[in-house]
């Protein structure tokens, strides 16, 4: 029987990896469909698929005949389906706000990678204060027990782990002075589903 969920994205981690990590953490099966990533000009496969998508973008999640788009809406839906979105309405909102903060920082990081030379240089300057500020705030919000919300794993932890692990690949000491955040990252890494997935997922440039 085909899995209930079909996740479609390029053959990259990037904006689909949080959803993949959530499926892995919860041990829920899904079809991990990967579209050829041109790297420069779009692949033929993507050119054909793009007009059929809700907003001309990936990732997509297909479930029960409905096609969802927008990476964090997909991740929130998957978190809800897998019981990882927080136990109360308030906890769900708290998880949402953590994820929003990660997204804000990620956008600032992307601003240093895409745009004109001037805008990228300006964005790099912004990042110099934005990242330490972000980590400082996140450290306060993360409890000492390795979770941002409540007392068990939520998608806020996984989302933060997703960003932090990508950043730590280039800056290993990123969380040196942030014990609570280190605990969050370690807790997610130690989840058996996540560990298995990371060990076997395809190697991709990002």
């Amino acid at each position: 029987m085909a899995p209930k969920y079909k996740l479609t994205y390029f053959n990259l981690r990037a904006r689909a990896e949080t959803a993949r990590l959530l499926f892995a953490a919860a041990g829920v099966e899904y079809e991990d469909f990967r579209v050829e990533f041109g790297g420069g000009p779009p692949s033929e496969q993507w050119k054909e698929l793009k007009p059929k998508t809700p907003m001309g973008q990936l990732p997509l999640l297909e479930v029960d005949g409905v096609t969802l788009c927008q990476s964090m809406s997909i991740a929130r839906f998957v978190a809800r389906e897998t019981g990882l979105d927080g136990k109360t309405s308030l906890e769900k909102a708290q998880a949402d706000m953590i994820v929003d903060a990660v997204e804000e920082t990620l956008n600032k990081i992307y601003a240093t990678m895409f745009g004109t030379d001037e805008s990228k240089a300006q964005a790099k300057k912004v990042l110099e204060t934005a990242v330490p500020e972000f980590l400082k705030n996140m450290e306060k919000l993360a409890g000492p027990d390795g979770h941002f919300v409540g007392d068990s794993l939520t998608w806020a932890d996984v989302r933060f782990f997703d960003l932090a692990s990508e950043m730590m690949a280039k800056h290993a000491d990123l969380l040196e002075n942030f014990p609570n955040l280190t605990k969050v990252v370690d807790t997610v890494k130690a989840n058996s589903g996540v560990a298995k997935w990371i060990a076997k997922r395809p190697e991709t440039p990002f």
Binding site: M55, V66, S73, S89, A93, D96, V99, K140
Partner: protein, 204 residues
Amino acid sequence: MPSYKLTYFNGRGTAEIVRLVFAAAGTEYEDVRLEHDQWPELKPSTPMGQLPILEMDGTMLCQSNSIARYVAKMAGLAGKTPLDQARVDMVMDGMVDMGNKFAYEIYYEKDEDKKAEKKKDYVEKYVPQFFSSLNKLASDGGYFAGDELTLADIAFYNMVTMVNPYLEQPLSLDGFPNLEKVVDNVTSNPGIAKWLKERPETPY
């Protein structure tokens, strides 16, 4: 019932989506508007050093869209089923993308010639294409999810009216009848209509 206290500067900005949801829900709340010199004192006690924040039952929430989603959920305006809620979320995210694109590529562009060029691209290419996608996602009754007003409809109206003042002309909904209906449904919602008449006039 909890008491809600929304704190922001004296402007629409990123708080307005929350105020619109409160208005549609008919939920009472304290609409605190800070002077800029009051902010430094409050800032360290906020979760992320930013506004808006929502205080209720001794908790502080931040991040405007998370706050909006929470308030909408409490009022049944976030979508009736999990899939509807995901549809609401994805439209809201799409509107954030549209706003971010404007901010990062146009608003912060210092070179006047480049700015004008990017504005032209935005208005003539990006927005019509994006509105075409959104028009397909909206029902012909003018709703993005289900058959009643949700946060998605409010988010569409809010972002379009947020960007419009910075353009030579308001963005056109010509050729996007479903989106025109969305705007109608939002502005004719009794709570929202009342708020739109009564809200303070502010430069942003």
